[in-house]
Amino acid sequence: MLEQMAKPQEQRVQQSVDEHVIRACQQGDREAFRQLFEVYKDRVFSIAAYSLGDETAAADVTQQIFLKLMTRINQFRGDSEFTTWLYRLVVNSCHDERRKQRRFFPLIESGAMPGTDKRHSQEKRYARREVAGSIREAIGHLKPKMRQPILLKYIEGLSYEEIAGVLGCSKGTVASRLNRAHKVLAKRLGHLRQNFLSE
């Protein structure tokens, strides 16, 4: 499966179509639902994959999430952000699935990074893949309470307030969990420090 680096800001631009798409989805428009699926599938799948540590289980959960989304979209009244509503569904579904699994499967290395950037030499691409793999592994080892805000922040690009809305906790709790998660990542991946020094 292909991977790409998360670009929350660009993803946010995509969300501008949601309001029209959601309205059309509520009217039963299959094409609109396809549109919605295309916008969110990778992010929903990423969150599921990192949360469950297993891409097969993540695919099943993603499928279930979109089915639930389609059947429940009429319940969305626009009182909250659509993303808050959607990611609450994602977080809860992953939580349920984890309870079923009762054990953790490490996320399996799943093929090469996309070779879209021709300017990068093979060596740089390899180094980048190594870094991405290490980060992915470290995220997989975070406690769920720390991992969830990390995924919502960096995969989806949500604000602290939005993350708090999804997780049903305070903004301060989000800040505190992210702080702890960042420190754990730095501690586990301290050997990558030189890759991030300013030139």
Binding site: Q4, D42, K171
Partner: protein, 398 residues
């Protein structure tokens, strides 16, 4: 006095989730608290790592599976209805007005694209720009009192223009006449400008290593400070620090410059040896020759170094300390001799150790110089950290 640590707010600080007052409180605390600064560096690294988190693409077959299940479950779907709701536009009575509207929109988009400067890369992030004098321009558009500088865009002032940039929530940069700057990057862990020519004055209230200015001959890195930086048409630059400390570096060469001092840079060579601006003119001229004209046949190195050594005051041992690692053999021994005469090395620092550039000994001596000379009378811990990693001011290992 009791001081509340701010270590639980670092992520929110980096993600700009704090109020202006809270942001200022964290920044001020960080400048003075070694413990929090160390922890802040860890959180910053954690953020940089998390920013690289790869997105995992969903399997291609997923949509077919979802659609199949939708059909099986008999979910109400209406495939004929278009979500965009624009199908009515193809009816004859709407076609002509709709076409006119579309053409109008296309024309406006074309105009806005034309106004963008060539080669710029715009993203969502931007800095506020205020016009101070004349008609500064962002790309090809004049700034009328207020403007936005996006990533990749150039801000240019002519001989009569000045402008001020708000650097996120960490400070301001004043752009003098005849200056060309570009916003390279702005994110919680790094704010970076490129100064192609002209002069800017920066005042930054933030933890070290958040604000950078790239010039053709070095990178200026803020260590909590105020300074001016100017670049001429040849790409030479001159840094003058008015408050705090600034690090100048190019590849493995680095100079750490305190308030009251200046440092020149040259393309390809990087930063020269920093010096106090109240040092003698002869001292500064000789230093420039040593730094940037090593192959000039019209002068001899030995008398020039003698001139620097003879003109040095106790305060200038700061400059000589940087020089130690930039000269070799007998020249280094002469620099040592003069330094020892001006500020004797502390206990545990030997001549042999200094001549072989023992980092611990150099640091010990540097601390004594800083404490004895009013040159650098209050070195914040953050700068000591940087100096500790700056091998005699020449090797950069941050």
């Amino acid at each position: 006095m009791f001081r509340t640590h701010v270590n639980n707010q670092f992520s929110a600080y980096c993600h700009e989730e704090l109020s202006a007052g809270e942001t200022r409180k964290v920044a001020e605390h960080l400048i003075g608290c070694t413990r929090c600064r160390k922890e802040f560096e860890e959180v910053k690294l954690g953020i940089k790592l998390a920013e690289q988190l790869p997105l995992v693409s969903a399997p291609d077959s997923l949509w077919q599976e979802v659609e199949m299940l939708l059909d099986q479950d008999g979910h109400p779907v209406n495939e004929r209805r278009s979500w965009s709701g624009i199908s009515f536009l193809i009816q004859p009575r709407f076609a002509i007005p709709a076409f006119a509207v579309l053409m109008g929109v296309a024309f406006i988009i074309a105009l806005s694209l034309r106004d963008r400067s060539e080669g710029t890369r715009l993203t969502g992030a931007s800095w506020d720009v205020s016009r101070l004098d004349g008609a500064p321009q962002i790309g090809s558009i004049s700034v009328n009192d207020k403007g936005k500088l996006g990533i990749g865009q150039w801000l240019e002032t002519d001989a009569n223009s000045r402008a001020q940039i708000e650097v996120g929530n960490i400070g301001q940069v004043e752009i003098d006449p005849g200056t060309r700057v570009r916003l390279v990057e702005t994110k919680p862990t790094e704010h970076r400008l490129e100064l192609a020519r002209g002069r800017l004055s920066a005042r930054i209230s933030a933890p070290p290593r958040l604000f950078f200015v790239d010039t053709p001959s070095a990178v200026a890195e803020d260590l909590g400070c105020a300074y001016t930086l100017e670049v001429n048409d040849q790409g030479d630059s001159l840094l003058r620090v008015t408050l705090g400390w600034v690090s100048l570096h190019l590849r493995d060469r680095e100079s750490v410059v305190p308030a009251g001092a200046a440092c020149a840079t040259r393309p390809g060579l990087g930063p020269g040896t920093p010096y106090f601006e109240d040092s003698s003119e002869m001292f500064r001229k000789a230093l420039t020759k040593l730094d940037f004209e090593p192959n000039d046949p019209s002068w001899s190195r030995t008398p020039t170094l003698d001139l620097v050594l003879n003109e040095a005051r106790p305060r200038d041992t700061f400059t000589l300390w940087h020089l130690l690692s930039r000269v070799n053999g007998s020249d280094r021994a002469r620099v040592y001799g003069r330094m020892a005469a001006l500020v004797p090395p502390p206990e545990g620092v030997t001549r042999d150790g200094v001549l072989r550039l023992d980092q611990n000994m150099l640091n010990l001596w540097r601390e004594k110089i800083d404490s004895e000379c009013d040159s650098v009378n209050s070195v914040p811990a953050v700068v000591r950290d940087v100096l500790g990693r700056t091998r005699s001011g020449i090797h950069r290992r941050l």
